[in-house]
């Protein structure tokens, strides 16, 4: 109980610190007085409230969503290398987004891209599950992973095709694929947070079932888990989180893979705590990565996806090394 409380205190403190840094540091020095006195400096207040604040919030939402979805997918698939993109949901979201840019679609104004992206994500989820069911009625995880890989690579080639054929939108598409939380504003946040909330809730409701499923679907079944229903819920919840995150920010890599691992090593495998702690850590990490992305060569900005991978890859290598070492020592 003590350790658990400690975990939440530390994680919350890190998140609050990340938010504070994210809001207070930026390309433009902003007097924080405008937080409570917006009239003091209109430009500063505009920058803080309408540009910096929403991107910090969005970075938090996206990072948290990806990390929580990653934690759930790794648990469900019993695969430490699984991430929110394993099922190809992100490829669906990407195809939706890139198609919007490629064809210059504008059906829903500035909401067009996230709407199409979400639609792409959901369509792929349904296709993957539908195809898996057609292949194997018991919906084995291996089948789902394999189907995800098949759909993912097909959609990947579709993406490459659009990139190859595109002209002036190339930079936009590449920029979107690299991932960024810049200039989304509050309206994007208002649009995605209900999805993220629903996705996170669905996963949180399956926290104990995820614990049981770590011992295999068969054992989970014996423990009284309605495996099929829960699998749907977890895949659905994770995909909604992933889809909405990708829809607003592009494919930001490594957060969904590395954060659950770090959280697991620090605070244990119990999903009742792993899920919320991963959510908070993912939020912290992406807020900080975005802070780096927009300040390191200020005033020029880097895509945040570049920073997460840049930090994420070595961290992941370190964890991998540590786990291998641990394994090697155990077997020695």
């Amino acid at each position: 109980m003590n350790k658990r409380l400690f975990a939440y205190i530390v994680t919350t403190a890190v998140l609050l610190a990340a938010i504070w840094l994210g809001v207070s540091i930026g390309t433009v020095r902003v007097p924080l007085r405008v937080l409570w006195d917006p009239a003091a400096d209109e430009t500063a207040s505009n920058i803080l409230w309408k540009i910096r604040m929403p991107r910090v919030v969005l970075a938090g939402l996206v990072g948290g969503s990806l990390a929580m979805a990653g934690a759930a997918f790794q648990g469900l698939l019993k695969n430490p290398l699984a991430d929110p993109y394993t099922l190809g949901v992100s490829s669906g979201a990407s195809v939706g987004a890139v198609a919007t840019l490629f064809f210059g679609l504008g059906l829903f104004g500035s909401y067009t891209l996230p709407v199409f992206s979400m639609a792409g994500a959901m369509a792929v989820l349904l296709l993957v599950i539908g195809f898996s069911r057609a292949v194997d009625r018991s919906l084995k995880m291996e089948t789902i992973i394999l189907t995800g890989v098949i759909f993912g690579s097909f959609l990947g080639s579709l993406l490459s095709l659009m990139i190859a054929l595109t002209g002036e939108e190339l930079r936009q598409i590449i920029g979107w694929l690299l991932g960024s939380v810049s200039m989304r504003g509050w309206k994007y946040i208002w649009m995605v947070w209900p999805f993220m909330f629903i996705g996170a809730l669905m996963l949180w409701l399956c926290r104990r079932e995820l614990n049981a499923m770590l011992f295999g679907e068969e054992r989970a079944h014996h423990l009284g888990v309605d495996v099929k229903k829960r699998k749907w819920m977890i895949l659905g919840g994770g995909s909604i989180l992933t889809g909405s995150a990708v829809a607003v920010s592009g494919t930001i890599g490594f957060v969904g893979l590395v954060v659950p691992h770090m959280t697991r090593i620090l605070w244990g495998t119990d999903h009742r705590h792993l899920l919320p702690l991963s959510l908070m850590n993912g939020a912290s990490l992406l807020i900080l990565c975005d802070l780096i992305a927009r300040t390191i060569i200020s005033p020029t900005e880097l895509p945040v996806g570049v920073i997460t991978s840049f930090i994420g890859a070595p961290v992941f290598a370190f964890i991998f090394y540590r786990q291998r070492r641990k394994g090697a020592l155990r077997h020695a």
């Binding site: 790794q74 648990g75 019993k78 695969n79 430490p80 409701l205 104990r208 614990n211 049981a212 770590l214 011992f215 295999g216 068969e218 054992r219 079944h221 014996h222 423990l223 009284g224 888990v225 309605d226 697991r264 244990g268 495998t269 119990d270 155990r330």
Partner: protein, 492 residues
Amino acid sequence: MLEVRELTGGYGDSPVVRSVSFEVGKGEMLGILGPNGSGKSTLLKMLSGLLPADSGTVTVAGKTVREYSRKEFARQVAVLPQLQADTFSHSVFETVALGRYPHQSGLFSAWSERDERAVADAMDKMGVTRYRDTQIEFMSGGERQRVFVAQALAQEAPVLLLDEPTNHLDIAHQQQLLDTIRLQATENGLTVVSVFHDINLASLYCDRLLLLDRGEVAAIGTPDAVVDEAKINAVYSARVKAGMHPEIPKPQITLLPGEGPPERKRAVKKEDIKVSGQFVHLDAEVPVKAISSAVHQAGAGWFRHFVNRHVDAGYRSDDATAEMRDWLSGNGFPLSQTAAMMTAAMTEDAVIGEYGTPDAPVVVCVTAGVGNAVDASIGAGREMYAGTINTWVIVNGHLTDEALIQGMVTATEAKTKAMHAEEVLDPLTGTVATGTSTDSLLIAATQTGVRYPYAGTVTELGGAIGRGVYECTVRAIRKYRVRKSAAERDGQ
């Protein structure tokens, strides 16, 4: 508690399990046996609701499996599948606590006092309480399996289904695990159905056994009824020998390898018996089957060395068996391959003779001293001395168990006859003695060559044994008397 009616099902079109019916009562332990692919695990999966049945019903506590929700069913039936590797690790407590899943409901599903107690109880029963915070990935297979049993016990379900629970465990862990489960059945009325790979373990621990053959019930009943040589041979297509456990009345089987026991190149002859002042020793070169009342390795068994050791008449030991073991290993005899007895008589006076056919004779060796001769009809209430008439009968032939015992009877009768003929009297009663107070007898057979189904007194073999033992005993008694009178003369 658990009732199965005409259960049929499996994977795909052709059912693996075909119209299986049985019942298990509260507190009963049923073992499911059968060769690989006979449908044991499939049957268990159908019982646990993992695999839907094509037809037939499984009823638990009066309701069929289909009438239960997943959680309700898990409150009735706990299942322990085979050991498997896990990717991520939980602590022992977290693992066992998962067993409470079916008892928790609602959005926040608070952890109750009862949950805590059930988990503590389960960990206690399986002896894993001290590992509470250990990660299970760091535990050995046996310990881990105990944790999983604790998880199943924490479910507090009245029925426990097990799939080869002792797979990959060493014998100590097998024993601990099954002892605990057996105790739960006996003391707490837990109903246990377990698939077993090992027929002997199943026979030892289960009240009843169910033998599956290609998905159908080949036999069901008590271990005595099911562990039957003919049935096991037929169902498993394996050559086995069934017999009783040496300590408890449960049948056990042993495999008969394709090659029989190593053949002796030549018959055991009287020259093979070496006599010295300390002991008489026969090295049979390869193990032979023997039944004896020896001090070391009494009873039936296969032995290569036979020793008759001389001890003083005043020999006393609190634990003669242990003392004998020490002496044997001190003299370089392999303990497991040696049957040994002791005598106060002088071993150099051993009388050795060959009887019957010269190629495959019956070899008899007797050492005798009749100082404490006893009339068996009124023999009780005397002190024990080291054995004084020790008789060995080694038969170059194949004897049935029946023949071995008959041989013992024949040899004993012949010995008694010799006592009569030599008019050895019981010094206490003055009547004719039938033997001495601590006589030993050993009958050995090479189990090669001629087959002897019987060894009663009128058979050819019985005749040889009877005559041999009689003659050798008479000569041994005479040698003893000669030595004794010489000693008395020297004493005077």
